[in-house]
Symmetry: C2
Subunit: 119 residues, 2 copies
DNA sequence: TTCCCACCTGGAGCACACTCCAGGTCAACC
DNA sequence: GGTTGACCTGGAGTGTGCTCCAGGTGGGAA
């Protein structure tokens, strides 16, 4: 069973150590096990869960919503339908973000073309 | 020449009145003309510029960068090449955002499929 | 004339998501 | 034995981008 030191978890997840501690403190991450001298040892599962969090965070999910998702996960398999609902709702928001960005991008392209035309 | 009251500018731009005042205060918006009793009267140009700001803001440009762009615009036509550079750089970032969102979205889709498969 | 309402200003306060700090522990290397 | 470096904790501080507030003005409806 592989474990990760804090430095390795930072490397692996791209989160800063402070962020990892913060996520644990607010309950986004279940209490990470400690070794004999009190230092964190992250499991493969922790790293996997952090990958999920990174995905949700980077698609703009607020921490409060990630917390709700974390609670569903902790509550057990009977919450899978709720998790699906939550992710589907989030997926729609991601879709909307993409569409919105693409539309704004057209505006930017037009502006650039306009500037080119008046140079 | 059409002018807009504060309420109309809010309606037109989607920014709150506080945000419009804030943008003026920090120099994102040049000082808006006032009527005899000191109230703002937005011109068509103000509204158009605010449309540009909305586009930049909604595509994630930080205020500091919008300020640089605003200064270029104020400095006159000889800054058009610089404006193009700035917008092109921003365009690349928007492109990267879209690509990133699309990739994360695939992860979310996979997760949803996984959840569906274990229900 | 009295009320309300939209608006004004300067400045304080807030939500979010971290990020930093002080003071301490422990293991390992010199 | 001493020093270094990674890590610990609780709690304070920070940056961004607004948002709210107190106290005041001016114009129009009742």
């Amino acid at each position: 069973m592989t474990v990760y030191t804090p430095a390795e978890a930072v490397e692996e997840t791209g989160f800063s150590l402070d962020t990892l501690r913060y996520y644990e403190k607010i309950g986004l991450l279940e209490r990470v096990t400690r070794n004999a001298s009190g230092q964190r040892r992250f499991t493969q599962d922790d790293i996997g869960w952090l990958g999920m969090l990174r995905c949700l965070r980077d698609t703009g999910m607020p921490i409060a919503t990630m917390l709700r998702f974390a609670e569903l996960v902790r509550a057990g398999d009977h919450t899978i339908p709720d998790r699906i609902k939550l992710l589907e709702e989030h997926d729609r928001q991601v879709q909307a973000q993409i569409a919105n960005l693409a539309e704004r991008q057209r505006y930017i392209h037009n502006k650039i073309s306009y500037y080119r035309s008046v140079m």
